[in-house]
């Protein structure tokens, strides 16, 4: 009898202790206990998004090799989808569990709140000097570099040659009007849709900037987000014309990019703007697809495209891990490791040594050619994240009855409210 009583008390106190520890706000150093006993081991928390289905394995390979070289550093990898990663990060920030290494799009708002370690604290001078100047400059907030440019990418027009032939379209469109007419021909004369316009929450901001850039527009700069400018409005109105004339797929306002590109890969779409990785995807999933890659169609035909650069950054937390982060970044950006990573993912390199190594790559060539005319997101503006969110949730409304002016004004209002 006594024994059962004691074990009951034990079980209860154990349960209570469990509750207390698991529900409290822990301070982000829960790896402390076990790390001490194994000598001076540092554990780095790393949070990255998936660029492709191979991303996780690719990082795991890098981390394994790194850990063999640096037995005193352990890297915990967490991989999230692009749709979720910013929510995950936000939850971690609120719980004081900011990742030591983070791969993301925007960084300025974190820098503005002094959450990030300056790049010079987490990478050696040689590593920093190896980045191409244009990319390194885009990583600065108030003259201090915070991000390490990880990848660059540009969009190009993918066209289905078979569908063009079936619809009697001779030339690859280079202007908006040609793209409109070619898409209309394909929509009318074949069973496929003409142009794939993904304005759903996955990447409405990307599709929008491709069109805006085609009219000399952009989303503003580090100081001011400018969405409802005349140039952007004209572009948005042309997008709406494409939709209203029925030359796009159905329900463009609710279409995500990935499934839209899948229909292109299956040969059921005439035109779509896609990325370097799409080439690899087509090779794998439908190698028989008869397609070509051309420059983005713009209003006048002058070259312009959307460029994307993503970056690695380090949240400084209490600052005790910056030496270990530095080891990792220096290792990762060494020419061999980095070029292997970038070319496997199908992106364009941001380092000088990487560009030299990949200069002869045929798949990357059309995109490398477009890069000089690329327009980038204003990621150095702290209001960019809110603008990005507003595009994702609102831009599709040009397909559900609202006017281009109304939609751009609403996005601008959300951007202004984020200051």
């Amino acid at each position: 009898m006594k024994r059962t009583k004691r074990s009951a008390v034990l079980a209860l106190s154990a349960a209570a202790a469990l509750l207390l520890t698991s529900c409290g706000f822990s301070g982000g150093n829960d790896s402390g206990g076990s790390a001490e006993s194994e000598g001076a081991q540092t554990t780095l928390e790393m949070l990255v998004p998936t660029y492709s289905t191979g991303t996780k394995a690719l990082w795991e390979g890098v981390i394994d090799d790194f850990e063999t070289e640096h037995p005193n550093i352990k890297v915990n990898l967490e991989v999230q989808s692009w749709e979720n990663i910013e929510n995950v990060l936000k939850t971690k920030l609120q719980g004081n569990q900011a990742p030591d290494i983070y791969n993301g799009g925007a960084f300025a708002e974190f820098a503005a709140e002094d959450l990030l370690a300056p790049a010079s604290d987490v990478a050696s001078a040689e590593t920093l000097a190896d980045f191409q100047t244009a990319f390194a400059d885009a990583e600065k907030y108030q003259d201090t570099q915070y991000g390490l440019p990880l990848i660059a990418s540009a969009r190009a027009l993918f066209y289905n040659k078979d569908l063009m032939e079936e619809a009697g379209v001779k030339n690859v469109p280079t202007t908006w009007d040609q793209l409109h007419d070619a898409s209309k021909a394909i929509s009318d004369k074949t069973k496929a849709d003409g142009y794939g316009m993904p304005l759903g929450s996955e990447e409405a901001q990307g599709e929008s900037l491709i069109w805006f850039a085609g009219n000399g527009g952009n989303f503003g700069d580090a100081q001011k987000i400018a969405v409802n400018t005349p140039a952007n409005l004209e572009a948005a109105e042309f997008m709406k014309k494409m939709i209203d004339d029925g030359v796009t797929q159905n329900d463009p306002g609710a279409t995500q990019r990935t499934p839209m590109l899948n229909t292109f890969i299956q040969g059921k779409l005439g035109f779509a703007y896609a990325l370097p990785q799409t080439v690899g995807q087509i090779k794998k999933e439908n190698p028989d697809l008869n397609y070509g890659i051309a420059a983005v169609a713009t209003k006048t035909g002058s070259p312009a495209t959307l460029g994307v650069a993503d970056r690695l950054m380090s949240f400084k937390n209490d600052g005790s891990k910056s030496a270990a982060v530095k080891e990792f970044f220096d290792y990762f950006f060494s020419a061999d490791v980095y070029t292997d990573w970038v070319s496997t993912e199908g992106f364009l390199p941001t380092t000088k040594s990487g560009s030299e190594k990949l200069a002869g790559d045929e798949t990357l060539k059309p995109f490398l050619d477009l890069l000089p005319n690329a327009v980038f997101y204003p990621t150095t503006n702290p209001a960019w994240n809110a603008t990005d969110g507003a595009f994702k949730s609102l831009m599709g409304e040009i397909a559900t009855g609202k006017s281009a002016q109304e939609v751009l004004d609403a996005i601008q209002a959300k951007a202004d409210a984020a200051k």
Binding site: L12, A16, L19, D251, A254, G396, A418
Partner: protein
């Protein structure tokens, strides 16, 4: 509340107090963990949510300063709110109403003995056993305009010329979400009502028959009143569940731009995900919380579900 719960007579209270305290202390080890759990996962988060709703929080998540009730005036001034509340109302009423009507019929059917009843009863549980997100995702892909099986079927039988984006437009997306919500709510509701039905004493039915009541009259005036407490539980829990449902709507209507298909719950999620306004979404959650409390209060007050028949 003025519910006629019998109150213990105060006589002998003094005498009993010491034993009351004693029994409370001795029961503490037993109810303690549950109390702790409630404090930690119900009371604390709710309090923290209310606190957050009065703060100005940066889009990164840093608590900047007090905002008073500014967050509430912002959300009430939001032009999207009336549509969202109307959607929420339509969503809750249609799902709960249809679920209860179908479940009443189903429970009646399942309480009658027939060969294979056990198997049918098991089959009714299946939607309950499967994960809601999984069930919804199956429907979502089935309704995809390009490769969805439902669309494929409708095109094949000549009902439609080409696939329709059921989940891409506000009204059809809401309608199919209602269907999915009913599908996953039926098992719980049916089983609650079935349990209620089996508690109806056979002699009351016999008495009704003796008095010459027909089938409908027996059901309406004898069975239904005795189902009152089971119905009350089913309706109340369904209202709260459906009102707070995120997974179904998030999957089914998540890709629709703007707020034309949002309920309060998905709107809170969007404010958090796209606008990154933790303070505003906390304020919305407080409103959400208040609405649920009001619904429950009105329901308890008017239907008096706890009153014995």
């Amino acid at each position: 509340m003025s519910s006629p719960v019998p109150v213990k007579a105060p006589a002998g209270r003094k005498l009993r107090r010491s034993t009351d305290t004693q029994s409370f202390i001795s029961s503490l080890p037993w109810i303690g963990p549950a109390l702790l759990l409630i404090l930690a996962i119900v009371v604390f988060p709710a309090g923290y949510m209310i606190y957050n709703s009065t703060r100005k929080i940066s889009s990164v998540g840093t608590d900047l300063h007090s905002a008073g009730l500014a967050n509430f005036s912002t959300i009430f001034a939001d032009p999207a709110l009336p549509r969202i509340l109307a959607n929420t109302f339509f969503w809750v009423v249609s799902v709960v109403l249809i679920t209860v009507v179908i479940s009443l019929a189903l429970a009646q059917f399942l309480s009658k003995p027939f060969p294979g009843r056990t198997i049918v009863r098991m089959a009714v549980i299946v939607p309950w056993a499967a994960s809601v997100v999984m069930t919804t995702t199956v429907f979502y892909y089935g309704l995809d305009p390009n490769y969805g099986i439902f669309n494929h079927f409708f095109v094949q039988i000549g009902f439609m010329d080409e696939g329709f984006g059921w989940t891409k437009n506000a009204i059809p997306a809401m309608a199919v979400s209602v269907v999915v919500a009913i599908f996953v709510s039926i098992p719980f509701t049916t089983y609650t009502l079935l349990a209620g039905l089996q508690a109806v004493p056979g002699d009351t039915l016999e008495a009704a028959r003796m008095d010459g009541a027909g089938r409908w009259k027996t059901y309406l005036f004898v069975v239904l009143p005795q189902l009152r407490s089971a119905l009350a539980v089913a309706v109340l829990i369904n209202i709260i569940n459906v009102f707070n449902n995120l997974p179904i709507l998030k999957v089914m209507t998540g890709s629709i731009p703007g707020n034309s298909a949002d309920t309060l719950m998905t709107y809170i999620f969007k404010v958090l995900q796209f606008d990154r306004r933790l303070d505003l979404s906390s304020a919305l959650s407080v409103v959400n919380f208040a609405i649920v409390l009001v619904i429950v209060a009105i329901y308890v007050k008017t239907v008096k579900p706890m009153q014995e028949v």
